[in-house]
């Protein structure tokens, strides 16, 4: 018996329509960058010319440029590399499309610039986080997560060196060497911030290092005079929820406001 094809019916998508996202480039737009944006579904133009529901500012990273990117007119800042957007995590674009804030920096910039201050100011000014104990505790977690992403994630500097003065010298030397390594120093540190309803806020810190065993480190205990190894334990005590993704390369911290 031959069945006839069912009549065509209207197709419903369970996905939300993708909001137009623009990349405002503070500087010349190369052909490669335009191609990358096309492939990512991003509109592209100069800050004055690109019109979209949400816009990311991109260009050279500085205190001013990042603050401009996460202030009023834009929803984030992406540091452009020699190869444009190559290496930028897709999570940044999804965060901004979802109404959040995204920052993507090379490790060298995240180290040299007052990244934590900039992000804490953004939490206060753009996400409405009132100054006080909650903001202080979130700042502590964010500082630990950025520090881990830079040192142990992207620069792959072992933590156990800082046990005494000699170890500290070795630690300094390795940090210096790796910050001058063009591959390691250009790995990205990305910070994505998303409100979760009125009562919670999610902050994701990502690196591009080797990853780590989250469960193993979480069970690690330190004594009160330890010189290293405190960061993750501190974060887990403060967060409402803590998840590791991407093999430990992304830490998702959710905080009560």
């Amino acid at each position: 018996m031959i069945h006839s094809a069912p009549p065509p019916s209207e197709v419903f998508s369970i996905c939300r329509p993708v909001r137009p996202l623009g990349l405002a480039v503070d500087g010349p737009v190369s052909e490669d960058l335009a191609d990358q944006c096309a492939a990512l579904g991003l509109l592209i133009g100069t800050p004055d010319a690109v019109h979209a529901d949400e816009r990311l500012l991109s260009g050279i990273a500085s205190d001013d440029s990042i603050r401009r990117g996460i202030g009023g007119d834009f929803s984030g800042f992406v540091e452009l590399g020699d190869e444009g957007l190559l290496g930028v995590g897709l999570r940044c674009f999804e965060t901004v499309r979802s109404g959040g804030l995204a920052i993507s920096l090379k490790t060298r910039s995240a180290y040299a610039l007052p990244t934590l201050d900039i992000v804490c100011d953004a939490l206060r000014d753009c996400m409405g986080l009132a100054p006080g104990e909650r903001a202080d505790l979130i700042g502590i977690c964010l500082g630990e997560a950025i520090s881990n992403a830079v040192m142990h994630g992207n620069l792959e500097v072992p933590a156990h060196l800082r046990v005494n003065s000699e170890g500290f010298q070795r630690f300094r030397q390795i940090m210096h060497e790796r910050l001058n390594d063009p591959v390691l120093a250009c790995r990205r540190v990305e910070i994505n911030i998303l409100p979760r309803g009125h009562d919670f806020i999610a902050v994701m810190v990502s690196d591009q290092g080797a990853g780590f065993n989250f469960a193993e480190h979480l069970n690690h205990t330190v004594d009160s005079e330890a010189k290293s190894g405190r960061g993750l334990g501190l974060i887990s005590r403060i967060c409402a929820s803590l998840l590791a993704e991407d093999g430990g390369r992304t830490l998702t911290m959710t905080f009560a406001r």
């Binding site: 520090s147 830079v150 300094r172 210096h176 009160s224 010189k227 290293s228 501190l234």
Partner: protein, 101 residues
Amino acid sequence: MQFRVRDDGASVHVALEGQLNFAANEDFQVLLGQLASHKNKKVVFDMTGLSHIDSVGLGLLYIAREDMAEGGASIVLAHPRDNVLRMLQLTEAHKTFEIQR
């Protein structure tokens, strides 16, 4: 991080400014070098100007304490801002350091 060292004879005052964090390594090394000559004194780290301390920065203070104890010096952490004090409390730093509010 920036710092200023002032020796008033009886004690040494170190005014810290900025962030004592993972990016303060080089500055802290210079500070340790300057403090090495101050033996048998109380060294007061004035934290009034310190906007943030992370666990790396805290680790540096523990290393400084050990180094300076060898020369008979002791460390006091003075006037931390609320967020810095919270970090000191969370990590039970008061068990090791004298903290002056």
